[in-house]
Symmetry: C2
Subunit: 374 residues, 2 copies
Amino acid sequence: MAEQFIVTPWEVRGNIDYDKLIKDFGTEKIDGKLLERLKKHTGELHHFLRRGIYFSHRDFNWILDKFDKGEAFHLYTGRGPSGKVHVGHLTPWMFTKWLQDKFDTELWFQMTDDEKFLIKNKSLEEMNKNSYENALDVIAMGFKPNKTHIFSDIDYIKSQYKIALKVAKKTTISTVKAIFGFKDSSNIGIAFFPAIQTVPCFLPSEIYGKNIPVLIPASIDQDNYWRMARDVAEKLGYYKPAQIHGKFLPGLQGMTEDGKMSSSEEMTCVFTTDTPEMVEKKIMKFAFSGGRETIEEHRKKGGNPDVDVSYQWLTFFEEDDKKLKKIHDDYKSGSLLTGELKQILIKKLNEFLKEHQKKREKAKDKIDKFMLRD
Amino acid sequence: MAEQFIVTPWEVRGNIDYDKLIKDFGTEKIDGKLLERLKKHTGELHHFLRRGIYFSHRDFNWILDKFDKGEAFHLYTGRGPSGKVHVGHLTPWMFTKWLQDKFDTELWFQMTDDEKFLIKNKSLEEMNKNSYENALDVIAMGFKPNKTHIFSDIDYIKSQYKIALKVAKKTTISTVKAIFGFKDSSNIGIAFFPAIQTVPCFLPSEIYGKNIPVLIPASIDQDNYWRMARDVAEKLGYYKPAQIHGKFLPGLQGMTEDGKMSSSEEMTCVFTTDTPEMVEKKIMKFAFSGGRETIEEHRKKGGNPDVDVSYQWLTFFEEDDKKLKKIHDDYKSGSLLTGELKQILIKKLNEFLKEHQKKREKAKDKIDKFMLRD
């Protein structure tokens, strides 16, 4: 198996070795001891934790220490609204919602429309519009309206600017070149942007006038920002933000080609607004199969669920461990064919999306309750 | 005489050769033809124009062309509110007020509290507070309340951010390094800041939804920003901003030591809030003299008004050409002694400041009419 893979805030590609990422990024593995500790608070464990989909963290024990001493933490996550939301974007939000429910925390959700304008060949107006379109998907996840603050950077810049300036004053061009790989040919907006992305790590403390621990559930590709935020935090007298990292939902074409689902390729991902027919067509046509060449061979030798994208997607979307195990074993033994496995996923995903689309529609009436604007 | 001098947005030093500046910055000299043309609009010429204190421009003829065709221009100037306002800061504002009166234009006045925080060892809160303190001096100049918009960058960032992002996207780190001398060790905030300072060149066009010519009356040390603004203007479809450049009021210690009055040195400048006693003490003690060593020598050989700071200040503050000429001739002939010349300036300046301080006090009740906030 190829060992080459890339994980940066702008590119995730290849067959990702998550153990190597833990080593490279200098984070900690989520181990049995931490899961036991968490279980005492949450009663049950989210299936993303039971299955190692959330696999890495930084200072999560410290977050729980603080919580045990009565210092409630806040959650911070976000989205770069370059286009439509696909189901791969939803998985960290599902986990974030679970954390909000279990710990009854506030959530700060940053839409980085400024960043997407600065790095894409798209208009500012379109990126800003996407912030509100994408927010419907966030709201549809079921976050608590009175404890969830979603904001477009462009429309909430005044509340963020002072902290961004304080962060920027402590951050040199050298630093952002080293951390993010910027060059002298990079534009001055994207050079400044890391200061904006760190703001919500410290915003709750500013708003409440006391130091508040912040936990960031996010994919590990955003880690560069949080390392920068942690460096600056000390200099500005804030707590360092803690992180908990999830694996990427693989693209339909499979993990060996593209570890993360890319929304720029219409036919490699499932958008939250796709019709049942589109979902079926995409999965039947593109989902990388771990099955054998012929039905006879599959029946005899069995399929490989570890590389089968439909099975991998079910590890995210099928919450029932027993059902998932049966699918796994049946596929491995050969009694379940690839076409049948795909149909299981299609049914599951379409059930999920039917509900999601209903909630997304209702979210249109609730958007003002969730969105912050200056 | 030493030919070395420095003129940058952060440092103005040495005996400034203004003709060389015109060549170096690639601007145009304000010549008799332009003055004649201007006189047709204004009736009289401001004494700063009569005396060559406003000496250079870029596209001022174009501004008048547009005006003649019925396209009114707007004015843009500003201040970096690092501390108290001194009388050297007032001179461009006097000229700006004259332009507003003569052409009945709107004025956009940017307080760059963000910039000052980023480059000074001062708190953001203090710089922001200075914006409002300094605004009292601006308002005291007598600008029209319904046509004058003063704003702190920090408190008006939301209205400026979209344009700043558009400018930033078109400006590389290389460009700001070349124009402003930034290094990799510069902070990412100051690297982004030139985008903010260019915003008011284009803000009137955005607000009114049509291209509006903008004229910037400012000292020539800010020219780097406007050259950048002019480069970007074309790419974004705005008019290039025009400029008109004034000379610096020399520091009390004279032009050979410090061409621009520096407010960071308490005893080299006169603040707008100084008492008559402080003004007298400062001028008597510190104003560089063009007089002779002894009274006898002075009576015989006469003084040198060209290097005498008190006389230079009178070229800014004594509007009456005849009175000024008499002072000049009397000093040059030796009939007017340095102490007497200083007393003329002290009287003139204290009369001016008495009025200014009254208006500044009244400005406290009007500040909300002038200040924009998001």
